[in-house]
Symmetry: C2
Subunit: 119 residues, 2 copies
DNA sequence: CTGTCATTCCCCCAAGTGGTTGACTGACCT
DNA sequence: AGGTCAGTCAACCACTTGGGGGAATGACAG
């Protein structure tokens, strides 16, 4: 098996979700904030941004849906924590793409060598 | 300088564009196809998908805008080529995030040790 | 001169996105 | 009982997005 991270059909949806979630600057900022500070309450996160609590709440839900954040609800206080794990799916996809690319270049080089031998 | 890839304000837009462009399954498929086959004409790319030529043309423009593909126009034939370079911006962002995260854990551990000494 | 070809450009549509404001929930504190 | 507080839900708005169809372009072939 050449491509160790070979993506199964089911995973592509999650990969799409992860990339899309990460494509929004505010959401990336939230992830950074959580990485710095550890678990935070929704309100405290919102306080760092020039956005309504509601908007932040929605962003967090998107991050959760993508698996990039998790929530520990302690009555009305929701502690949000960053989840680094799923981000590696991006790396895996990237690594696969690079493998495919390198494979083609290798084949190309081999073909050129073959041609040299026939001269 | 701790974070070697520290993202400047100007870069975040491009990073967003890259992530967003890559978040669409069809666009990822196009990238894979190009990585496998090398430069291809728009029509030939479209032939591999169950989408209109128009849709493919638009997807390619998104990839171009994100810097993930480039175009070499030879009269009416446009040769599209994948560009792996910009993808590393994703890796850089990821590495930075991970650094920030690890930094917090280190600080946490240090604090615990300090506490131990005071016991 | 009339097609054909590869591709873009323009217009249309349905669905999704980021953002807002306002109402709701339910324990806790006077 | 009545207010506060953390957070979600619901409705709404402007804008974008992914997709389609069709016309336009401009060299080249018959």
């Amino acid at each position: 098996m050449l491509f160790t991270h070979m993506v199964e059909r089911n995973d592509t949806d999650q990969l799409s979700a992860i990339l899309k979630a990460a494509s929004e600057p505010n959401r990336r900022a939230i992830l950074t904030l959580l990485a710095q500070n550890g678990p935070m309450k929704v309100t405290d996160i919102a306080a760092r941004f020039d956005l309504s609590l509601n908007a932040i709440s929605k962003h967090i839900k998107v991050l959760e849906a993508a698996g990039l954040a998790s929530r520990r609800t302690e009555w009305r206080e929701h502690l949000i924590e960053v989840q680094m794990g799923p981000l590696s799916q991006i790396e895996n996809w990237f690594a696969d793409l690079r493998s495919i690319w390198a494979l083609r270049l290798d084949a190309l080089e081999a073909a050129l060598l073959e041609e040299d031998n026939n001269d």
